[in-house]
């Protein structure tokens, strides 16, 4: 069962990279803001139908939730818009890999200080080493991308 679930989660990563590629393509015709708007609108409609049938939570609880929790929505909008800007310019791998690095670095910082009511996890030796390997990954992806671009030109 567990290995099945891990495969299922791999599939989640696949849909995310497919989304960024699809949106990058659509934005060439429609524009960045328009692509983000369409993604959010169709996502809302699809989710609304799913909640109607399978929702077990309490949507009206939104009204009582603290404002700082609700501000997550601006982050969601930033994320999608920035990805759409980057994809046509630096490609699918560079965008997704760089996004993941940004995500992990901030994640490590949030963990270290225990912000937003999460558990606190120290930035220990292995985690600092992980930061170094992420910097290395960024260096390689930048270099690799530059190489394919010069090849394409020549």
């Amino acid at each position: 069962m567990d290995i099945l679930m891990v495969l299922f989660t791999l599939f989640a990563g696949i849909t995310l990279s497919a989304q960024s590629a699809v949106n990058g393509t659509f934005s060439k015709g429609a524009g960045t803001i328009e692509t983000a708007l369409l993604t959010f609108l169709t996502g809302s409609i699809f989710l609304f139908i799913i909640i109607l049938f399978f929702g077990e939570g309490d949507l009206s609880g939104i009204m009582n939730a603290p404002n700082w929790q609700l501000s997550g929505v601006f982050m969601g909008v930033f994320y999608l818009s920035f990805t759409i800007v980057a994809i046509p310019r630096i490609g699918v791998i560079a965008t997704n890999l760089t996004t993941i690095v940004g995500q992990l670095v901030i994640g490590l910082i949030i963990d270290h200080f225990g912000w937003f009511g999460g558990i606190q996890i120290d930035l220990d030796g292995p985690r600092v080493l992980a930061l170094a390997f992420m910097a290395l990954a960024l260096y390689f992806i930048y270099k690799g991308n530059k190489k394919t671009q010069t090849e394409a030109v020549s």
């Binding site: 990279s17 169709t42 997550g72 630096i90 937003f116 260096y139």
Partner: protein, 143 residues
């Protein structure tokens, strides 16, 4: 402009981390699906306003575009649903590692073959090294 795109991508990831930290408690109090719906619905409103005042593109392109290029929103929801379903079974750590590996490997395949309308760009040694470095970083974080 190329440097800017890398910085934009870094900021996008940072935003994603803040988003999940901010929504962590909300998900527990009103439900994961409901939180995601809140995010998409209010995000649509915010983007609708931004589009009204600053939109320079062509929303009507939606009607002309090939239908497969319209599935971005649905893919985003499928992604979130898969995560919500798998976390209780395998935990957050393994879920995140599997998601990221799935994402990077699929990105390589998409870009190498130029699928989904993206510009084809061959895999080279540097890109493979980049992916390996990421996997080492993930193992270090999750041990």
């Amino acid at each position: 402009m190329r440097y800017f795109s890398y910085i934009f991508a870094l900021l996008a990831g940072a935003a994603l981390s803040f988003e999940s930290a901010l929504y962590g408690d909300l998900g527990k109090s009103i439900g994961e699906l409901e939180t995601t719906f809140y995010n998409f619905a209010v995000g649509s409103l915010i983007l609708g306003l931004i589009w009204l005042f600053f939109g320079k593109g062509k929303l009507s392109y939606t009607m002309e575009a090939p239908k497969w290029s319209l599935i971005g929103g649905i893919l985003g929801v499928v992604y979130l649903l898969s995560i919500v379903i798998s976390v209780p079974f395998v935990g957050v750590g393994i879920t995140m590692v599997a998601v990221i590996i799935g994402q990077i490997v699929m990105s390589m395949i998409i870009e190498h073959f130029g699928w989904l309308g993206s510009a084809a760009s061959r895999i080279n040694k540097e890109k493979v090294f980049a992916v390996l470095s990421m996997i080492i970083a993930l193992i270090l974080i999750n041990q």
